[in-house]
Assembly symmetry: C2
Homo-oligomer: 428 residues x 2
């Protein structure tokens, strides 16, 4: 599917934060920060998570370890350049800080990555945003320790080197990516996600699942031309380490996803979801994601009036995990022929009870669609308000995510995306 490289890549890289996992883990952050010598710490969160009381409680616990903590509650869900700058200005005014603690979903963790970068390195936000949107600069100085405390079981941001943002003037979703942005420690306390509404569990869970499925079906690292060390990127394609995390994450979801959506108080299912989110993050943070994530950018970005259950009322939105999921069945139908064995194995792991259809390319899409229907996701991109008339703009928007599309296991044209999006208008 890819042309055979003349000098194939033989090296893969793997990086991850240290992990502290389990019920009660978030009560010990003060001790962990003390290990980094931190005395003056900024806690970064969003208003919704702040309202649960967890950030305040964690900040108070820090003082028990002799750490002076201040809480910033101004994170915007789905950060923009403006919201990041506001957070950076707040941090610059109150600093210097010895460390940062991000409490929340991907938005809080990503905001903390930007704050950490811009309070330790010279320059401004757009200097570091991926080219061609921004300057694509790499940080020249070390960052401070960032401890990430995910409260939604989904994003995997605690494991990755990426900060995603909307640049408002350009109406584009893009990111900053560098190994130094990765948190040093992920503290995953399943108790913090117990209050998550069913709709959030469903959307965030699809994000976990797509991280695992896309990493697992990403272009193998050996299919690239050999890179020089300075050309290596955190996303290096599927590889034996990422594969292991992805397989285990899919198997954990198979045993917990429907239960966790149905009964948010099922601690065992919640624990498995939290572990699956962590594992999937540890996988995709090194392999990469592809078509469903590329499509998710315009699907979320061009929303008109969809208001998902379980999310704050107000502005219309397609939650990230939902935006990723809606084209996933059709994306995997398209990628099947590039790596058939991996698609079959993924389907088998996700639903060991499902029968193999005669057309094997239908296996993973079928398993995925049944799951999405069971957990109450919208029926395709039509279910969040898009019609055939929107497809060209969505395809054009997804084509801009070349960094992600380059990780797909076969070349992807705008025409391919148009077909995938059109077939995704209704899924069942």
């Amino acid at each position: 599917m890819f042309s055979t490289p003349s000098n194939p890549e033989s090296v893969f890289t793997y990086g991850a934060p240290a992990l502290k996992f389990g019920s009660g883990a978030s009560a010990e952050i003060g001790f962990d920060l003390g290990q980094y010598g931190a005395r003056h710490v900024l806690v970064i969160t969003d208003p919704g998570v702040a309202a649960t009381g967890a950030p305040r409680r964690i900040a108070e616990q820090l003082s028990g370890f002799g750490i002076q903590a201040s809480v910033y509650e101004g994170v915007r869900v789905e950060p923009t350049d403006e919201s990041l700058l506001a957070a950076v200005e707040h941090a610059r005014a109150g600093g210097p800080w010895d460390a940062f603690v991000a409490i929340g979903g991907g938005s809080s963790i990503d905001t903390a990555k930007a704050v950490n970068l811009l309070t330790t390195n010279p320059g401004e936000l757009m200097d570091y945003v991926n080219a061609p949107v921004g300057g694509g600069l790499a940080p020249s100085r070390p960052l401070k320790p960032l401890v990430a405390v995910p409260t939604t079981t989904g994003t995997g941001s605690e494991s990755t080197t990426i900060c995603v943002l909307d640049v408002l003037d350009l109406k584009v979703k893009t990111g900053i990516s560098h190994a130094r942005l990765r948190p040093v420690l992920a503290v995953v306390d399943p108790d913090l996600a117990m209050s998550q509404p069913a709709g959030v569990t469903a959307a965030a869970g699809m994000d976990i699942l797509c991280h695992a499925l896309e990493s697992y079906t990403a272009r193998p690292y050996t299919s690239y031309e050999r890179r020089r060390p300075e050309e290596r990127v955190p996303y290096c394609g599927s590889n034996p380490v990422a594969d292991m995390w992805s397989e285990r994450a899919i198997a954990l979801l198979a045993r917990s996803f429907r239960t966790a959506v149905r009964d948010g108080d099922d601690a065992e299912a919640r624990g498995r979801m939290a572990l699956a989110a962590t594992f999937a993050g540890l996988g995709f943070g090194n392999a990469g994601v592809h078509i469903p994530h590329a499509n998710a950018y315009p699907i979320a970005g061009r929303v008109r009036d969809f208001h998902p259950e379980g999310y704050p009322a107000g502005e219309p939105m397609v939650p990230h995990g939902m935006a990723v999921a809606l084209t996933a069945p059709e994306a995997f139908r398209f990628t099947f022929e590039a790596l058939p064995e991996r698609h079959l194995r993924a389907a088998e792991l996700l639903d060991p009870s499902a029968a193999r259809p005669d057309d094997l390319s239908e296996y993973l899409p079928g398993v995925l669609t049944r799951l999405m229907r069971d957990i109450g996701l919208p029926d395709g991109i039509g279910g969040v308000g898009y019609t055939e008339a929107d497809v060209p703009a969505l395809a054009e928007g997804a084509m801009r995510q070349q960094r992600l599309l380059g990780t797909a296991p076969r070349p992807v044209t705008e025409d391919d995306l148009t077909k995938i999006l059109t077939r995704s208008i209704a899924l069942w």
Copy 2:
């Protein structure tokens, strides 16, 4: 098997170095050190590895990245307090260093950990050695980046927080263990192990396998009483992350171990062995090892005149992996009843073709013994010169390793060890 904890542990921790894996990876270390801002670096290795030319070649490559590197070739295989002090004195005289690169087996990597500790922190070696042998002090200051480049596929030292040493005056093998000792980056280049003799591949491979098997059958973290954060240790008992690494390591060995011993030039088998060693290290470095490793201390320490094939002539020795392996079948027969499912699963992963015996406690010992016989290991501790008369001293020596024995899945008395050692005099 253990008494039920009144307040069971609910938290586990996981830490690991970043990884760069693959053929040619060792040529890029200069770039990676540059990422840490290093300009003046000490390369630490032993005379045997130095003779292969790899350390000199790597040091020369560093200069291509603007890094000034000096090579210390004085590492002793099986480090002692004396050999570590010699390395520390050499490093103190030539320093300060921005970073360290250890090239070799566990001895070189462990020596580099001690050098890093004692050139960045106050005090002397015995202050940091585990109590009660030493002062058990924790480092008070950050260490420098240590890049570990394993050349024998076995020890897993590149992933762990431990430095093992013999204290000569006390005739005791002990260690220094702290999270800060862990290398920041493991560079695993399977090409560096291509010259390894069959006897070394066999012994080192048994070390990999026992890391995986002992971690996998270690006391579950939930079986301990809840620890306060300052009481947490790098070895926290078996847990979902360590389990995943261990299972995968065992499966990789099943497909490569016999081949790699038989044909040292089989690059695919070598690659799998290197990956298995890394995976097992990433597992046991967080779960812990137990009876076979405890027994290995006196089995190696009390050697009289055994000279293994493939190792330097001269002093008698029982290589570490061999010392670990010789009592493993009997140790797992003893631990079977504590966690039967895990013992069965491990046997199945290691030899999917083996038939299950009627007495299921024989399954894993049987699979292990057949493997050891096939790859040319000595027939039990009798094969390296011990008789029944030596058993009391060996059992007494193993009893001193309470830190390891405490990780076993059931309580272990001196009488239990005596039985295990006696039954291990001849295995087939």
